[in-house]
Symmetry: C2
Subunit: 274 residues, 2 copies
């Protein structure tokens, strides 16, 4: 469910919002290694919405669907105070290959599908809480307005039995690590932060703590997964290229920390706190 007030920052077009509603759902499929086939989308529309607005939302939904080979097969419309795009995906998965949150084993390594921090920085720029200029500004904002789901990677992680557990990072990296730790009854020690260079630069300019952007941003749809280093080689080179090793699975049940012992807060992007 995409809702304007929490999921559509100022500066995001209705077309981008429609597309994001699909991407959010595709990202959940990616985490499980499931292949989406069809979507049903219900729109809640404010009274003042114009025909051209609805068309833009529809174009965005369709764009997101086509990017991932999905057909939009039905839905509903209703009158709401917010703009609401409620999206349900149908798809297929081999139940023996489905990747859960509860499969991480002590000794596994922890990986992410890309770098973190620039998405949260982009959100701050859009909200006027941070500054960036020129090409950097464009790239930061684009990360928020055109999020990408890691569907190909997710499907390969499942099909080739690479991942022992997986989740998407839409509630923030820290939160995702805790989800895996709790579900798998393990601990996680972070050895390397997947900080994007753009985020480092942004944090320096805006006197923001870059670790907060990386750990608690939650505007990214990366995959966070556990595996053995050897198994990672089963991935195609193209997919492996963006994967970053960030830590290891430990027997410290429920504990997510850095190597120096500093504990990572179990907080994340929460719609009811944010």
């Amino acid at each position: 469910m995409l809702v304007d007030r929490t999921d559509v920052p100022l500066g995001m077009s209705l077309r981008q919002a429609g597309r994001k509603a699909i991407v959010m759902n595709v990202s959940d499929f990616a985490a499980k290694g499931a292949t989406p086939l069809a979507a049903m989308v219900s729109l809640g529309l404010p009274r003042n919405v114009r025909k051209t607005d609805v068309k833009q939302i529809g174009l965005g939904i369709n764009q997101g669907a086509r990017e991932h080979g999905i057909y939009v097969v039905g839905g509903d419309t209703n009158l709401t105070d917010n703009l609401v795009v409620s999206c349900f995906l149908f798809g297929t998965a081999d139940p023996n290959l489905l990747v859960r949150r509860a499969g991480a084993r002590v000794g596994d390594r922890v990986y992410v599908s890309g770098s973190f921090g620039h998405q949260a920085a982009g959100l701050m720029v859009l909200l006027g809480r941070g500054r960036a200029i020129g090409n950097r500004r464009t790239r930061l904002i684009r990360a928020v307005l055109w999020p990408r789901a890691r569907l190909k990677l997710g499907i390969e992680l499942a099909r080739k039995r690479v991942a022992t557990s997986c989740i998407d990072s839409s509630d923030g990296l820290a939160w995702s690590l805790y989800e895996i730790a709790h579900a798998s009854k393990v601990g996680i020690t972070i050895t390397r932060m997947p900080t994007s260079p753009l985020a480092i630069r942004f944090a320096r300019t805006n006197k923001t703590i870059v670790e907060d952007l990386v750990l608690y941003g939650g505007e990214e749809y990366e995959l966070v997964f556990t595996s053995r280093p050897k198994k990672l080689r089963r991935l195609s080179r193209a997919l492996r290229r963006n994967v970053i090793e960030i830590g290891r699975v430990t027997n410290e049940h429920g504990k997510v920390r850095f190597e120096n012992g500093a504990v990572i807060s179990p907080r994340g992007w929460d719609h009811f706190l944010g």
Copy 2:
């Protein structure tokens, strides 16, 4: 998609609202003759919602699901200004038996699955726009707060190849007749109004036009379908008992009227007008 401001009248409890969200969807399955199996439900919750409120909504959703043999298998939560219960049903149907809106043939009769008018009257009572007392008040209000979907009838209409076309009346009887007429490229002449005795009594007391309650109310989840009189005998006696013949299918393409020639307005319950 159930939204408090349009679908939850004053006096409807959150439990009833949760149940209604399921019933609305089951009614669409009933019209097609499809059997629902599983539901996914996303909640949009206002900031001031309490834990006990969410529990009541959940109990209602579960109640509606269990009444129809449905499992709730997933969903999402989000922060919204309205209460939103966005519900998607999955189920099965034999594509050869699926009942469409576009199957009515000239000479068919038009039927409804029960009487009309008391549901709209009940809504008026809840909204303080009409009065009723005692047992009558209770029955009027109950029709709104505990709507029933005609799933058994709908499935039998399809399985026994009784209905040539079918729709549920959730947007009002007049609107449903027009939907069938347009989709089937036929006309419909109404020979008998399925007015409930309760509605007649309410209209008299409240100086309301009973035909308006019956034709444009739209708070009921009855089935409106076309068939041949002979085929109707295939229905079990229990199901046939509530079916009312209200008219016949004509070759006056797109025209829905009474026998005396008076045209029925192509209007209904529309969230954007109502």
